[in-house]
């Protein structure tokens, strides 16, 4: 292809490369100097707190939003399967799952049923789209993305609204699809440990890229730990926790008079989750 001849520096298999992205929304700098790549057969996971710009970056990659500065490259001819963060179909629209799937691809024929089976949602084709559980809806959205025979899957919080067991199953499914089809995956998650096993590369985002690399490396990175706090260490072997305050009845921190009775680890984690929430928005 002519394009490859003029841009020989891009590695073979590279699907997406964005660099130096600045984007302002409503006066706020939502993305600052963000860079990201994704290649064939690679699973790249964007993680970051709520409001850190993950969905916005996804929209930039997809060409739905024009950045104020920076470059967006997608390999010419790349077919994209997209799973938005939230799809709610109005109750007034009579639409079955089968029809919903066919909206994405003209003349889909019998393939919707095959793809539904592939994502473990066989038998849902005749169900009204509004009558799906959270997990079923996510699988149907994944099926619609796959129907396009994509080279790149872009999944914005694919396990949203799914219980913990279901989340693990969905990530396994995504990994299997990658293995079978050899496509690239760019997905968004807000929890590193859930996606640890199913991702090759992690990009930790908080308006700028805090750190990027293999999941184990990111999970130990100081910037990652600063962003997510001790909560980030959940599930890791080494876990030390020093309380310099205890929590008063109302939940607010109170000065520590005497060493508190040692609580079990799970409770500590829950408290820290609340603290992390407040800090990460700052």
């Amino acid at each position: 292809m002519a394009n490859q001849a003029t841009e020989p520096e891009r590695p073979h298999g590279l699907l997406v490369e964005v660099a130096g992205i600045d984007l302002k929304l409503g006066g706020n700098l939502v993305l600052a100097g963000v860079a990201l790549t994704a290649s064939e057969g690679e699973i790249v996971t964007l993680i970051g707190p709520n409001g850190s710009g993950k969905s916005t970056l996804v929209r930039v990659v997809l060409g739905l939003l024009e950045p104020d500065r920076g470059s967006v490259y997608m390999r010419p001819g790349t077919r994209v399967g997209y799973m938005p963060q939230r799809v709610v179909v109005d109750e007034m629209l009579p639409l079955t799952v089968g029809r919903f799937l066919a909206l994405g691809v003209p003349a889909a024929g019998a393939r919707p049923r095959a793809v539904l089976a592939e994502v473990g949602a066989a038998g849902l084709a005749g169900r009204p789209i509004q009558r799906l559980s959270g997990g079923e809806m996510q699988r149907v959205l994944l099926a619609r993305a796959l129907l396009r025979e994509p080279d790149l899957l872009v999944l914005d919080e694919p396990v949203q609204g799914v219980d913990v067991t279901g989340q693990g199953e969905l990530f396994e499914l995504i990994t299997r699809i990658r293995d079978r089809r050899g496509l690239g995956v760019l997905m968004v998650s807000h929890d590193l440990h859930l996606v640890m096993a199913s991702t090759d590369t992690v990009v930790c985002l908080n308006h700028h890229v805090c750190c990027t690399g293999r999941p184990e490396a990111v999970s130990r990175h100081p910037e990652y730990l600063a962003l997510f706090g001790p909560l980030a260490e959940r599930g890791l072997a080494v876990y030390t926790h020093q309380h310099d305050h205890r929590h008063a009845v109302g939940g607010e921190a109170a000065p520590l008079a005497a060493p508190p009775p040692r609580q079990d680890a799970a409770e500590d984690t829950a408290e820290d989750a609340a603290e992390t929430e407040g800090r990460s928005h700052g």
Partner: protein, 265 residues
């Protein structure tokens, strides 16, 4: 059947047939307020048409179309609350139109006819407009059905999948302008939104697919026109409002029937 009555029936059916599918999209896209606002601004078209001695249909289509383009442009700047701007523009144009009409030769303007319709006065030329405009709108909706439906379900997803989302959105609003312009004669600008919405809402009770809902909405609209005209003759009630009342009766009947059916089934 008297000639004027036949013209009224034909005119009403022509409008109701297009109002079915367009009304379905108005309901699905939650654009009822947009439709009402556009209908209000139609009176400015009437005033301008009288002032500039234009064909009133052309003037109304032009004003409503301009509103559609304005809203489409505003929606690109996500920070602005579209419905606020829409409310201001629509009601100010209604007020300006009322003021302008008051200063004109009042003998020529039957305000009541524009507000509530004057279906019994439908002329042959009106029929040409209704069927010309209506068939154009129907053909356009059929032609862009898939991308319009995909964009209605989820705009960004449709855009990533290659649907011309911005184009069909603008086209849809322009078609709505066209239908409001030709529907003005039948039920008037205060009631045209109900002819879009009530049949579609009634059709939702029985439809299994989007296409069924559009077709059934057209059928219910046609029944409402026939029923309203009949009631108007029988009880000497105003025709436009009677059509809307008939639509509401049909909506209630369909709702009760489906409720009873699902109870028993």
């Amino acid at each position: 059947m008297d000639d004027f009555l036949l013209r009224a029936l034909l005119g009403g059916i022509g409008v109701a047939m297009v109002a079915g599918p367009l009304g379905a999209f108005v309901v699905w896209r939650r654009m009822a307020y947009f439709g009402a606002a556009m209908a209000h601004s139609a009176l400015l078209g009437v005033a301008l048409g009288l002032l500039l001695e234009l064909d009133l249909n052309v003037a109304v289509i032009a004003v409503c179309g301009a509103l559609a383009v304005l809203v489409a442009a505003l929606e690109r700047y996500k920070g602005l609350a579209t419905d606020t701007v829409l409310g201001i523009v629509a009601h100010v144009s209604l007020a300006v139109a009322l003021v302008a009409l008051a200063f004109m030769e009042t003998a020529r303007v039957d305000l009541f006819a524009y507000l509530f319709g004057d279906i019994l006065a439908v002329t042959r030329l009106d029929l040409v407009w209704i069927y010309g405009g209506g068939l154009t709108a129907l053909a356009a909706v059929v032609a862009m059905w898939r991308p319009l439906l995909a964009a209605t379900v989820h705009e960004e997803l449709a855009e990533v999948e290659g649907a011309p989302v911005a184009g069909v959105r603008l086209a849809f609003m322009l078609l709505l302008a066209l239908v409001i312009a030709v529907g003005l004669k039948v039920v008037g600008l205060l009631l045209i939104t109900s002819l879009l919405i009530i049949p579609a809402a009634a059709a939702r009770r029985v439809a299994r697919t989007p296409e069924q809902m559009a077709v059934i909405a057209s059928a219910i609209g046609c029944l409402a026109v026939a029923g309203g005209l009949y009631g108007s003759l029988r009880w000497d009630s105003p025709a436009g409002p009677s059509i809307v009342v008939a639509a509401a009766v049909l909506f209630t009947a369909v709702t009760l029937a489906t409720l009873a059916f699902t109870r028993r089934g």
